[in-house]
């Protein structure tokens, strides 16, 4: 039984709002001996706007895992006296008022007592969602969801498990491995006892701590024992093993496929002891991305490093990692760690591959350049020609990742060309028949397509199980290349090898299409998780019934459906006799509302009722996603005044009319007058917010199949958390 689901005894439930004069610093100084990592975790909870903190104590008597941890400590240190363990959970609600979705995350703080009166403290584990999300260009692909038992019931949190070493029974290698393995193992966690058993650490003859950690062989033993395969990259100058390539590309190749990696480096400590410089291991769990990175161009044109293509890794600005010394979700700038210090990468994989992501990228480059030059039949469109030009000029952007067949087929089903075309079922089926369960996908794009629009020319699929010949002939023979190639989908065509030749079939996707977006995947729960799955996300759309607005809503609905999100619109989601006002109020409370602003909208009583409902529910800027039609004159003060005049006129007309009849039984008409007054009152502040938001034009949205809008909406639906 893990400590996160062990029964706890309530100690307190604090109001932690700043308005209540709660200070993270004061609290941690007073109760948790100024623990610095706990302070970072509290600051992340603060960024998530936590309102309260539940403190529970855990007992070894009711938690066998805690008892086993203490028993191991007793073996390692006979002077071990016992431990005290607290589970601190963060809530976005006042104390004792938990509600659905108000649980934020938790941390388990363990204090171990020895003969010294001062205990040794460490964070046994913590899970909080990342503060930054893909909308902020932060991509953490390997999050898991965890059930957490509290005195307020079973809760759920998603994130990457963080842990600290105690320096006695588990060290930095253990906790880095634990975080990484938590991303992959079915149970989403592993005990230190199990790791130590696999690494042959018994705390007697073979110990860790006191400057002794796990060596790379022991790390590999643990992975092998658990059936986890890995790619290993070593740089050991003292032994003459000098890595000639950039270790960052190997690191990226692992994490871009949705798996974590372990990165080891040597410290520059002036107090180095007789054992030589110390080493540290951290789990790398994601990366940040910068659309405007200078690196790709500068590396090639100013510093002469021309690979013959641009790796998508060039746009990466930081790796996201946990560091047991400092805390969770830190950003390591791509170029900060020099090769002088780098020593080891272990890229973890759930499934074995015959060669790595960077090798797949090289094979992919060779095949793509050959296909660009070969000019196959049917490849006659503008976009194939552009692909060929970029390929010839060594300007393709390539991105390689290990794909599951099901994910790729879903990607094809959702795929829309820039002109709106999609693949037919039979076209997808013919590809499906030729594909194994897993394969390398190398996406091919151009700089402007990839970085700014997240789109591509197409992709090439390679076998991940066919080994490269050894030794490798130069150049690679055609039969070898064709044995690696599964298929290539490029503008207007699909190419597949057959009997030593290439079969070329025309396809309807003549232009560029979106890249694969694994980062929008929902975190996977552990296999024994029994929490209720989250309902499918709802996005509302508020619009005036006009041909132009309705046409945009139709396209929008299709685009959202392609991304697995349901767009709720009045014409479909209000059933016969349902209350229109109730739907409007529900829309007003919606977490995401797309508003299509037009002249008609801004003068419509129903539409403006919806807009005021959205505004009254607060966080307008976060929840509203405007599309501004050309006739909605909100950007100039004179235009907005016209609308204010319109509503003032409506008020006067209705008010005058009401005065002509008896006042009794006119509550509904009076409420209309109140509504008009409310629209008039809120109009200026709402439209001021809307005009200040960078709303793309309808044409820009349509050009990209609403990609940017959908990205932002999905980020908002995710609940919390960019390029730092």
């Amino acid at each position: 039984m893990s400590l996160r689901v062990a029964p706890g005894q309530r100690i307190d439930w604090h109001d932690t709002r700043i308005a209540s004069r709660f200070s993270n610093f004061l609290f941690i100084d007073k109760y948790y001996r100024s623990h610095p990592v706990l302070r970072r975790i509290f600051s992340q909870a603060r960024q998530h706007k936590f309102q309260s903190l539940l403190i529970e104590s855990l007992s070894a008597a009711t938690c066998p895992l805690l008892a086993a941890e203490d028993a191991a400590l007793r073996v390692r240190r006979p002077d071990f006296k016992g431990s005290s363990t607290h589970r601190l959970s963060f809530w976005i609600c006042p104390p004792d008022q938990p509600s659905a979705g108000s649980f934020l995350g938790y941390v388990i703080f363990k204090s171990d007592y020895f003969t010294s009166p001062k205990p040794q403290d460490h964070i046994y584990e913590a899970v909080l969602p990342p503060v930054r999300l893909p909308a902020h260009n932060n991509f953490i692909h390997c999050q898991r969801s965890y059930a957490v038992t509290t005195v307020a019931g079973i809760q759920s949190v998603s994130g990457v498990l963080y842990a600290q070493q105690n320096g006695l029974t588990h060290v930095c290698a253990h906790v880095a491995l634990r975080s990484a393995l938590a991303c992959l193992l079915p149970e989403a966690d592993i005990s230190y006892a199990e790791m130590n058993k696999l690494a042959d650490v018994d705390h007697k003859k073979r110990q860790v701590g006191g400057g002794k950690g796990l060596d790379p062989d022991q790390l590999v033993d643990i992975l092998t024992g658990l059936g986890i395969t890995h790619d290993k990259v070593v740089h050991e100058p003292s032994l003459g093993h000098i890595l000639q390539t950039e270790f960052q590309r190997d690191l990226y190749g692992a994490i871009e496929s949705g798996c974590p990696a372990l990165m080891g480096f040597e410290l520059e400590d002036p107090n180095t002891g007789s054992q030589g410089p110390g080493r540290h291991l951290v789990p790398v769990i994601g990366h940040t991305f910068n659309d405007d990175a200078w690196v790709p161009e500068a590396q090639r044109y100013y510093f002469g490093r021309n690979l013959g293509y641009f790796s998508s890794e060039s746009w990466l600005s930081s790796y996201v990692l946990h560091d047991d010394n400092f805390g969770p979700y830190y950003c390591l700038p791509r170029h900060f760690l020099k090769k002088d210090n780098f020593r080891l990468v272990l890229g973890l994989q759930q499934h074995p591959t015959a060669f790595s992501a960077s090798e797949a990228e090289a094979v992919g480059l060779d095949l793509l350049k050959a296909l660009g030059t070969a000019k196959p039949p049917f490849a006659q469109g503008d976009w194939y020609d552009r692909f060929a030009v970029f390929s010839k000029e060594n300007l393709l952007v390539l991105r390689s990742q290990l794909m599951q067949k099901a994910d790729y087929l879903q990607h094809l089903r959702e795929m829309r060309c820039w002109d709106g075309a999609s693949l037919e079922g039979a076209e997808i089926d013919s590809l499906a028949q030729a594909l194994p369960e897993r394969f390398w996908m190398i996406e091919a794009s151009a700089q402007e397509l990839f970085a700014a629009s997240r789109r591509k020319f197409g992709e090439l699929l390679l076998s991940c199980t066919t080994p490269l010949p050894s030794p490798l002939p130069r150049p690679l023979p055609r039969p070898v290349m064709l044995s690696l190639l599964l298929a290539a989908r490029l503008p207007g065509v699909v190419l597949m090898p057959k009997d030593g030749e290439l079969v070329v079939t025309p396809r309807r996707l003549q232009g560029h299409t979106p890249i694969f977006t694994a980062w929008e995947d929902t975190p996977r729960p552990p296999e024994n998780d029994n929490t209720t799955p989250a309902p499918s996300p709802e996005v509302f759309v508020s619009y005036a019934w006009s041909p132009e607005s309705t046409a945009i809503v139709d396209q929008l609905q299709q685009a959202f459906a392609n991304n697995g999100t349901r767009l709720l619109r009045d014409s479909e989601d209000i059933r016969y006799k349902d209350s229109i006002r109730d739907f409007m109020r529900r829309l007003g409370q919606g977490k995401c509302v797309v508003v299509i602003l037009s002249e008609k909208y801004l003068k419509s009583e129903s539409c403006m009722f919806e807009l005021t409902e959205i505004a009254k529910a607060q966080d307008l800027r976060e929840r509203i996603f405007p599309i501004v039609l050309p006739d909605a004159n909100i950007y100039k003060a004179t235009g907005r005044i016209r609308y204010v005049q319109h509503w003032e006129n409506e008020i006067q007309v209705l008010d005058a009319a009401l005065k002509t009849v008896r006042a009794d039984n006119l509550a509904n008409l009076q409420s209309d007058l109140t509504l008009y007054a409310e629209i008039r009152r809120l109009f200026d502040s709402i439209t001021d917010t809307l005009k200040d938001m960078n709303a793309l034009t309808p044409a820009q949205h349509e050009d990209t199949s609403f990609a940017e809008l959908i990205r932002r909406v999905r980020a908002q639906l995710g609940g919390a958390g960019a390029d730092s």
């Binding site: 060596d215 296909l371 490798l472 130069r474 150049p475």
Partner: protein, 67 residues
Amino acid sequence: MTYATQQLTQALQELTNRKQAAQPKPRAFGSKVISADRLHFSEEVAAFLDEKQQYAQKTRTVSVGSY
């Protein structure tokens, strides 16, 4: 403008001019086969892969330091 950018710009412009002059092509159906002989591969890529594989093989059992 760098030399490579100039080349790309020129190539894209030539492409555009050719397209504008060309007649619309009829939509093709069915599949066609092209010979693998039309595919030409690079020595540099094979050299990169070879060096990478040799290095991986050489360092596969290296276990230095403790973490």
